[in-house]
Symmetry: D3
Subunit: 163 residues, 6 copies
């Protein structure tokens, strides 16, 4: 139980939320990669690619929105620390006939990890695609918003299985 308590670092002994104190830590180089999939009903993605092809504004708008959201993670996620991100990148890739795979990589020299920044960037990039294509019909979904990899920090490096 003491171990569990140690794990839920954002809650105090009495269950009250708190921002974890990182002031004793030295900044180290952190990197995280997260992904999300935008999954389309049959036929829709082909139409999107024909009309708003990867070279068009559709993918660029998603990249811009994802980068901007990653930079504002600490405004959106209450207990995230403001971090001086040194880089954010968004990649979008057609996968099979009905999926756009969005990946966000974030880096910082920081006292805490950048997982939430990568996840927030991926989520908002995916939602931006959703918004721009939603007129095709309401059956589009964002699937598997998740961390792929993180490096730096005391807890060591980690990489999702199966990638």
């Amino acid at each position: 139980m003491g171990r569990a308590r140690k794990s839920l670092t954002h809650l105090s002994e009495s269950g009250e939320l708190r921002m974890v104190d990182v002031s004793g830590k030295s900044p180290t180089r952190r990197r995280a990669r997260a992904s999300a999939s935008v999954v389309f009903p049959a036929g829709s993605l082909a139409r999107v690619l024909r009309e708003g092809s990867p070279k068009g504004d559709l993918f660029a708008a998603a990249r811009v929105a994802g980068v901007q959201a990653a930079k504002r993670t600490s405004e959106l996620i209450p207990l995230c620390h403001p971090l001086p991100l040194s880089r954010v990148g968004i990649d979008i890739e057609v996968r099979g006939g009905s999926e756009l795979a969005v990946e966000c990589e974030a880096s910082a020299e920081a006292r805490t990890g950048v997982e939430m920044e990568a996840l927030t960037g991926a989520a908002v990039a995916a939602l931006t695609i959703y918004d721009m294509v939603k007129a095709l019909g309401p059956g589009i979904e964002v699937r598997r918003l998740r961390l792929l990899e993180k490096t730096g920090g005391l807890s060591g490096d980690w990489r999702a299985a199966g990638r």
Copy 2:
């Protein structure tokens, strides 16, 4: 093709992004409901519920963050219109042994739908839970961020199958 072009309303004839002009429309009552699932590795959710139970700050923080994000949707998603939301609500429910189901409902008297507001609220509430429990391990995922229902607007009401 003309039909496809009509569908991708956020892209101009030449593929350039644009905010859809809603000035000719009258405001009507709009409502949308979206959901997302936070899925935990075996055993983790039980621990979360023991330590940061539904009555604690964990769920409350997710509700606050989701509501605040829904209100800021037009800042995050580039082509969304600023909307005077009349209500945002977030529900969080334990489903089975390894899932927290997050639902966001948004309403407005507006010239355009509130789907993106509901989706953004659900996404940020789910990411807030993720952030507060991520110390338990990196295998947590957000699954199936999607629209459940929308009412109001010219395109008619819609409800996801299987709910």
Copy 3:
């Protein structure tokens, strides 16, 4: 108890926070006035007025910051609705030898009141003064942040006693 529950409109039956649904209401003209006092240790205010007199940037900066904060109330106070403020004004007045009285008035054609907008504007204007004069010493305080008056809305007009 049913009456109490009706009063705490921002909490559901089970104690969960919620944004009050205002979609059934018609917009009416709302106005609210709030105030706050910045109270100085003996002698400090005289110095402030000598150096950064009412004609200088000190009061102007507080007015600007108060107006800008009032416009962003719904970003700061989680359950506030985004409101199309039609006016915000900040007045600052020297009162006695050790007090600056800040007043903020907000107006909107809206479905809900503008009390929080007036209070937020007054609070941030007072804190802006505090920030600019805090080098004089740490004994400055903001006192009595409160509503002075509100008009419009179903609950009727109200004016604080003793003013």
Copy 4:
């Protein structure tokens, strides 16, 4: 007079506002604690505690809002520097029969103090409580928004008398 001018560091010789240049300073560990009281008319607080008890969303929402506001202090207070806060915490305590005491503690490794961050966090947490209970009646007030303690920095540590 030269001494007074040195004190009002946010105004230039000619009374124009300016952001103090901190680029010559080395970052040191800063901490500040501020408080505010939400004072209720007789009987109201008991009702609030019965309906939206400390374990409910009311206090959690105030804590979230206070933490988020502290992180955005430099957006609200014009001459505040953007600071990489390493921790923000909000405590809320029932004091006597008619007062909720809100305390905000902020920490950073920074070139300037975090007093304004602590004060802004306390103010917005108090206003969030006000918002959620204001339906009980308009006589609630926020009193004594003030600094309790600060440590770090050239001007030395300081603690308010009587605490």
Copy 5:
């Protein structure tokens, strides 16, 4: 002089800033168009067009940034009212051998004009181009940020001469 005072509507009789009260006005359809030119040293623009051609992310990023900034005008310009923009569009056009002409058009059903929204969108789109090409050298400039046209409102329609 009375006439001049009427003109400087954002200043009170005593020179204090104020947000103009628009609550007595009925919303009407407003539109404004503004432009800015990004002017390049000889040869630079050709290089930009070769490398980051109009079909690439460069122009798309500027369009996204301009639209997003227009939506946030009331956060940036202190006395602007928050407006429910119904449309924002950014056009970028190569003019001659050394100029990119940026145009922003904004529309709203509002109680006040949308000139500042159009100007802010044009300015930020131009600065976004500047940012992305500034590595080519520091001699790039933004010239003639100005209103081209406005329609709607009591003061009547207006169109810049020479266009």
Copy 6:
């Protein structure tokens, strides 16, 4: 061509936007100065100076807005890094009979330059003046938004010719 590609650092080989990775660089002291001119139709500026003289809120509001915008540059310009600005200052000067010259100076200990911060501050200060005097007529323009000087960083110091 390889050389050109090196120059457009914000675009990848395939033309996709990216935030430049600065994590390998050490923070150094950066400073930049930018300017913009607000140019008035004949006679208008004299009226502005008579009514809202340099000692009034007009110039102060522009200074506040410019400082606040400079601090938020990374929110406005998509590929800008969040920077811990150590100082921002805005100067406004009457030049001749029809021009207000706005200058913004920004400084930071950072891994990348502060040119965009200085330009954004100058642009928003100029637009704030524009907003407050636009009731005088629509012929006002912002001219020559440009960098005057930058120091620090690998590419060396630079100063605009003719100043």
